[in-house]
Symmetry: C2
Subunit: 230 residues, 2 copies
């Protein structure tokens, strides 16, 4: 069967990291062509024998050195015919979150042109990538209402205030802290440890860990978390 169609398929990766009350997005500097030296999302063309999901993990690894195990499909961008000025490209965008450890990029290889940018300080980007990041951030925000979040974004042991700060950072407004604490604990996906860590100028805070099994069960089954704002 011969189909006349001159459209190409790419994948793009939006990877979020979190550190000290800031969300970061991973970007790369374009190396070749008209768009040389412009910042953009990691991504590239899909190979003929490659599932979409594999393509995005491969591109991300090649261009930034960052390995992400689960990338979730965000949206397919293909309404704007000129989103790539060179030819018609439809991009299937995926997003994921990484551990704070990944926020340090390996020097050398392709990764030297990769960099983490704070979400509120993204440079001018190639293509429609700013719009794609905006959509990914909105999805992340919406997910707080129906899925537990934080497993990838926080250290494996964290004071409760870190989880709370993560939520307020994503939601961009203060929450009712008491209600938040009560609800989070009622979902039972984090557990207390016997360890403490000093946070800021206050008393040392008890450290928590995620309960992997329960966390993953809730990811599948969903939660209904009506966040109350302060």
């Amino acid at each position: 069967m011969k189909i006349k169609q001159n459209i190409k398929i790419a994948v793009d990766a939006i990877v979020f990291g979190y550190q000290e009350n800031q969300l970061f997005v991973l970007l790369i500097k374009q190396k070749y062509g008209d768009l040389k030296n412009q910042w953009a999302l990691p991504g590239g063309f899909v190979k003929d024998d490659e599932p979409l999901k594999k393509a995005v993990v491969r591109e991300l690894k090649e261009e930034t050195g960052v390995k992400v195990t689960t990338m979730e499909q965000l949206y397919t961008f293909g309404d704007d015919l000129k989103r790539d000025p060179r030819l018609r490209v439809i991009s299937v965008a995926y997003f994921g979150t990484v551990n704070p450890k990944e926020l340090k990029l390996n020097a050398g290889t392709d990764a030297e042109e990769a960099k983490w940018f704070p979400l509120e300080n993204i440079p001018k980007l190639a293509f429609d990538h700013k719009k794609i990041i905006q959509k990914a951030f909105e999805r992340l925000k919406a997910k707080l209402n129906y899925q537990p979040i934080g497993f990838d974004l926080l250290d494996s042991k964290f004071p409760f205030s870190d989880l709370e700060n993560l939520y307020t950072t994503i939601l961009q407004k203060p929450i009712d802290r008491r209600n938040f604490r009560k609800k989070i604990l009622s979902f039972d996906f984090i557990a207390e440890t016997d360890e403490y860590r000093k946070v800021g100028s206050g008393r040392p805070g008890k450290l928590y860990v995620f309960k992997n099994k329960r966390y993953n069960d809730l990811l599948k089954q969903g939660i209904s978390f009506e966040i109350k704002f302060a």
Copy 2:
């Protein structure tokens, strides 16, 4: 820029209709080629100068005569390399809902090979279309928790029991009717009329209408509807 890539892009449409406590999906009979006479979702290849969203509305119209104003992107299917046995095709799937009036298809033109099937009685389908319908139904179900639903699926005037039946049909289990009524009314997106209609063997039920503006505002802003089951 020359990119070597031999992958084609299609769009597929999942259109849901609702009548007498049943959800229906619109299917077409394949006319040509190896898959002739197999049922499948309406859809086809995207034109080079055509936004994805326009492509799906055009294909739907051409193949079934059904006009849908808003189609929402569901998911892009491109991990299974053999989902189309003929060549590698990535499909961007869209879903939408239609008014009960649309459940009668126009005879003639291409539409004579289109038919509504009850969701629980879908025939053998070409490609991975059964999987696509399953995913669309799950999305429809999930949407009940964060968006008002029913505007397209019900008559413009409807007894309250129709809305309730729509929810139990999609959720596939009985709900706490009192709690449901209280919550629906609290969102304030339907209004009473002065008209009544006899429903089943009971007393005539008061008819309701959707409050368009409020309904659309809630669509954008979202609701948080924790449905209680009976």
